[in-house]
């Protein structure tokens, strides 16, 4: 049972949904103004930030002439799919792990819940990463730097799985910061360590057999492989198990929701 913003206890599901919608909208507007301001390019930075990263990485990799074992995979497309998928699981977690501290004052309004703060931030990160992925793909396809995707549905499936993984991990670690600030501190080194293992900069097929099974323990590797299978088709052999990734995400989601609920009982001013 939620309390309505007016303070009257109301168990009606749809009323609660309406309230949550209002709160999410208010938080979304606030977050946009706070982060991107109202001058210069404003909201465009939602796309601009990940775009600059991706272009930078693509340029560096191209310049370094990484041929990726002569597999015939276009380097730009490889960088775009790889780095965009990193943005999907990394940024939402980063944003949520700072979410409680940065939004604490707003929690004074009874109807603003920690969950709302997290959902807003996860939503914005997913929208940002997705927009930049779409924009970059169109741009590079248009100027002929990369081919169009082979299997759009499979690509969307991989993208959805990565979004789910990022969102559920963000809930868990964001909620965890209410229990210990170590979570926020440790996330940065962990994210850096995970980056080379995440599948963004390699295909599982290129690894020695023993290493493959280790790397495939990481759920996001499955998402990236699926995404690339959708993008490149059968140019390269991919290794992924959607069922395994879904199980991981489901467990993360349930643990995350539980931790967020506990966190809301612990917040102090």
């Amino acid at each position: 049972m939620r309390t309505s913003p007016t303070g009257i206890v109301d168990s009606s599901f749809f009323r609660s949904l309406a309230i949550q919608g209002r709160v999410l909208h208010a938080l979304m507007m606030r977050e946009l103004i706070t982060r991107y301001g109202r001058d210069n390019l404003g909201v465009l930075w939602l796309v601009g930030e990940p775009m600059i990263f991706t272009i930078g990485v693509a340029t560096l990799w191209s310049a370094a002439g990484l041929a990726h074992g002569g597999t015939g995979i276009p380097i730009v497309a490889f960088a775009v799919t790889g780095y965009s998928s990193v943005l999907m699981w990394r940024n939402a977690v980063g944003q949520c792990s700072a979410g409680i501290e940065q939004n604490k004052p707003l929690l004074f309004h009874r109807s603003v819940l920690i969950l709302d703060v997290f959902l807003t931030r996860i939503g914005l990160e997913i929208v940002g990463a997705t927009s930049s992925f779409i924009f970059l793909s169109f741009l590079f396809i248009f100027i002929g730097w990369m081919p169009p995707p082979e299997n759009l549905l499979l690509l969307l499936g991989g993208w959805f799985m990565l979004a789910w993984f990022g969102g559920s991990l963000a809930l868990l670690l964001g909620g965890g910061t209410a229990f210990s600030h170590l979570v926020h501190r440790l996330w940065h080194p962990i994210a850096y360590l995970l980056f080379p293992l995440s599948g963004a900069a390699f295909m599982v097929e290129w690894l020695p057999r023993k290493l493959q099974s280790v790397v495939l323990l990481l759920p996001m590797v499955h998402g990236v492989e699926m995404l690339r299978n959708g993008y490149f088709g059968n140019v390269v052999k991919t290794h992924y198990d959607v069922g395994y990734m879904a199980e991981c995400c489901l467990i993360l989601t349930l643990c995350g929701l539980y931790v967020v609920r506990e966190a809301s009982l612990r917040v102090e001013f």
């Binding site: 303070g7 009257i8 206890v9 507007m29 103004i33 706070t34 004074f108 309004h109 809301s264």
Partner: protein, 225 residues
């Protein structure tokens, strides 16, 4: 009706668990008001945060059968990089009301002028308090939570708050917490005293006042003026 039922609040501190208060119960009917007296550190502000719903009680329940405000004039509930107007819009979005009809009142009351469209972090403490108070008035609550220590300003601000709250909205409920018994005597029809983790009820304000003076005498050096 607002009812606080067997509420206790425990904080984890470095030296172990610290119980602010234990098994506190009281009710407040619509249109009535209550003063909560207590010395510094008696848990008055904690009580206000619990009633407002910003924090949860460790045990017990708080039932809100009317629209209860957030702690009045609490300027901490602002986003610093938003302007005064943005903060008005934010609060209105949360409470599902249209900000436009309220904007003239808020601009007039806060006397912010051009600063109304500047980020809140450029505000002085007084400007912040005025904005916070005006936003609390913008939403039509049934019960206002007033922490007297937060509503500080010059005489003019004080008088205008007094008018908005105790004259224009005298049909509403309020809970006023203070360590100043004169304020409670002036505004409240009944009072309770928070002392050493317990809540003491009395038939009238004078009895509460008498008891409060006794609690002060226990440690005379802590008497506040």
């Amino acid at each position: 009706m607002l009812s606080v039922e067997h509420v206790s609040k425990v904080y984890e501190t470095r030296r172990g668990r610290y119980k602010v208060f234990d098994d506190v119960s009281f009710t407040l009917h619509r249109g009535r008001n209550l003063g909560i007296l207590g010395r510094n550190g008696a848990g008055k502000s904690t009580m206000i945060r619990l009633i407002s719903g910003a924090e949860r009680p460790t045990t017990g329940h708080i039932r809100r059968g009317m629209r209860v405000s957030w702690p009045l004039a609490f300027s901490g509930a602002f986003a610093g990089n938003l302007t005064g107007l943005d903060n008005l819009k934010f609060v209105c979005r949360i409470y599902g009301i249209d900000y436009k009809p309220l904007q003239p009142f808020v601009e007039e009351f806060t006397e912010l002028g051009a600063f109304f469209r500047e980020p809140v972090w450029h505000y002085s403490h007084g400007m912040m308090t005025r904005l916070a108070f005006a936003l609390s008035m913008a939403v039509e609550f049934d019960c206002f939570l007033i922490d007297e220590a937060m509503v500080v300003g010059d005489v003019r601000f004080h008088d205008r708050c007094h008018y908005e709250l105790f004259e224009k909205r005298k049909d509403r409920s309020f809970i006023l917490v203070s360590h100043d018994p004169e304020a409670i005597k002036k505004y409240c029809e009944n009072a309770v005293v928070l002392h050493e983790g317990r809540l003491y009820s009395f038939p009238d304000v004078d009895a509460a006042y008498g008891f409060y003076l006794e609690t002060l005498k226990a440690n005379p050096e802590e008497i506040e003026v």
